[in-house]
């Protein structure tokens, strides 16, 4: 049991292939494991490939984007080679997903109670009334007042925070072992964001559900996750425990990200932006993708590609010059 992680992503590459054109690689050779009950955060900026990685795990890649190579294994079973029917069986029961914008992820013409009950009916074989009871119970667990009444509402009748709670209730209705979250609180107000994060944390703790949490907000990942992968231009450039990475980043991009983000607990720290722009993925540089923007870069960085390698116990970074990036911003 302990030998096989719950989720194991190995050398996964995603990209767009078009006839007569070169393949555009969007996610490039990433690997990570998520253990049972683990909370793994993926941070990165727009275009870093963090959401696509999550969608690949959920088998929800947008049309045109394909798995180019590598494997995604759930409890040791490769999701790519699994028969479609078996894979559908995992959805909801084993793996569930929460999206950023609950208004577009919910069916606007179906009562929310029925939407929550749909998956238990199909996956657990519950009767209509038993599934509805479960739905109402799930709504109660997510802190919705008067759930029996609210179950009859349509999504547009609910506030953003309530809709996100409905999404959570829906995702957790069949007690999945792995919950995929794509920026679940980005569209919410801060006071509501705190409530939703606490709720997710508590529900996952109660049921020992593992979490893969994609966000661009460094504060949110610090509050939700234990382990962290930092993505840049489709690669994981640093991995380790959140607190360790934040205190002592070992990749120049991670350091740049932490230096540029305002930290409420360090009001007088000067914000240092990362110069330049992320590379055009259709025209990926030969060496390290961060090299053109990196203040630590040496000649070798422009030609050879650094791979994720251990730099400290429990920490990996993809950088040739990682030894020079000691004592990060928050120390």
């Amino acid at each position: 049991m302990n030998e096989t992680p719950l989720l194991s992503v190995r050398n996964l590459s995603l990209g767009v292939q078009r006839k007569g054109r070169a393949t555009t690689v969007i996610v490039d050779d990433i690997s990570f494991d998520v253990a049972e009950g683990e909370r793994f955060g993926i941070v990165g900026e727009s275009g870093s490939g963090k959401s696509l990685t999550l969608r690949a795990i959920a088998n929800l890649l947008p049309a045109g984007v394909k798995v180019l190579s590598g494997s995604i294994a759930y409890r040791g079973q490769d999701l790519q080679t699994m028969p479609a029917k078996a894979r559908r069986g995992l959805a909801g029961q084993e793996i569930a997903m929460i999206f950023q914008e609950p208004m577009t992820a919910l069916n606007p013409v179906m009562r929310v109670g029925e939407q929550i009950a749909e998956s238990p009916r199909r996956n657990l074989g519950l009767s209509k009334s038993a599934a509805m009871d479960l739905a109402i119970d799930m709504m109660r667990k997510t802190g919705i007042a008067d759930p029996a009444h609210r179950a009859r509402a349509y999504p547009h009748e609910l506030s953003g925070g309530l809709r996100q709670r409905i999404m959570i209730a829906m995702a957790l209705s069949c007690s999945p072992r792995l919950l995929l979250c794509d920026e679940p609180t980005t569209a919410l107000d801060v006071t509501v964001q705190l409530q939703v994060l606490r709720l997710l944390e508590q529900l996952c703790e109660d049921t020992e559900t593992a979490l893969v949490f994609v966000t661009h907000d460094l504060g949110v990942v610090n509050q939700t996750c234990r382990e962290l992968g930092v993505m840049y231009a489709g690669e994981i450039v640093e991995r380790g425990r959140v607190k360790d990475v934040f205190a002592d980043p070992r990749h120049p991009y991670t350091k740049g990200l932490l230096d540029s983000a305002p930290d409420f607990d360090q009001p007088d720290r000067e914000l240092i932006a990362i110069p330049g722009f992320p590379p055009n993925l259709a025209d990926r540089p030969d060496g390290c993708p961060f090299q053109p923007r990196c203040s630590f870069a040496v000649d070798r960085c422009a030609t050879a590609r650094p791979r994720l390698a251990p730099v400290l116990p429990g920490r990996e970074a993809a950088c040739f010059e990682t030894a020079r990036i000691f004592q990060g911003v928050t120390a």
């Binding site: 900026e45 727009s46 506030s159 953003g160 925070g161 309530l162 107000d189 801060v190 006071t191 509501v192 964001q193 705190l194 409530q195 994060l197 661009h216 907000d217 460094l218 504060g219 949110v220 610090n222 509050q223 934040f246 205190a247 740049g256 990200l257 932490l258 540029s260 983000a261 305002p262 930290d263 409420f264 607990d265 360090q266 009001p267 914000l271 240092i272 932006a273 990362i274 722009f277 928050t330």
Partner: protein, 348 residues
Amino acid sequence: MTDVTAQPEVTGQQAVLRVANISKEYQLGHGLFSRFGGAQKTSLKALDGVDLELRRGEVLALVGESGSGKSTLAKILVGALNPTAGDIHELGLADGAGRRERARRVQMVFQDPYSSLNPRISVGSMLAGLLRLHRVVPPGEVRAESIRLLNRVGLQEDALSAYPSQFSGGQRQRLAIARALAVRPDVLVADEPVSALDVSVQATILELFRSLQDELGLSILFVAHNLAVVQHLSQRVAVMYLGRIVETADTAEIFSNPRHPYTRALIDSIPRMSADSVTDQFEVEGEPPSPINVPSGCRFHPRCPIAVDRCRTEDPALSPVGPGHASACLLAGDLPAYRGGPELKEEQ
């Protein structure tokens, strides 16, 4: 409703813009069905008696959650909306100044740099059009002035012939700022100008705003929901809740000694990057109520963890609680000492 005299005294600094008792109401229920059904009219009070003063050369942050009225207030300040009631005093504006002069003086930068620039007008003609309309410089100097503006916001001359689609999000926000600066305004109203940008780009735009304040002496009203950003950029903060300002103070003061439970809740909700999550009694439940149905008494009382009976009936006005510090809470004087402020790292 709110007592104008309760505003904290201006301490030596001159105001450039002052609004008094501003309200904005929208009538609802004018739809087809209600017209036939004769349903009673309801109104949505986006702003309910707001007093605010922007001082020369300061960055004033307006914070609050969705529905608090912060964007409505910003739009009223630039003249894009007319208030239902209340006065706008533009101080230092010559008597009899026309609409164009008024519009020139207060400029706006919007949240989304993808939708706030016309995709079919090149950067050069966008700037030239403004410079000519407001006769900012003689016609012969329009090009030179455009280049100067681009350089001011960190862009190069070659941007003149380009179209907005050729720029990244951060660069577009620079263009939007150059457009606002073209007419040499006194006041910049920026509505969430960095919330659509990536963190690493955000820092450069915040730095640009700071340099505009330092070098051009611009007064900036900065509408934001990210308190860490607000703390880095602004000198003063006004917190809004359901169409009212509930607390104003200097930035350092409001974050270390908040005197309104809602402000405390906001600070405690910040997902902290270095500190562990703050556990304080000021975690609020529920969501902001709809401005169609404002609670009686203090509008925050249904979510307030320390509300007493009085709060359900009495509507507190914004009143001074310290030098330059005002709070609209009946219990402002009795709040327990605050422990959730920035964890300053001196001890380490």
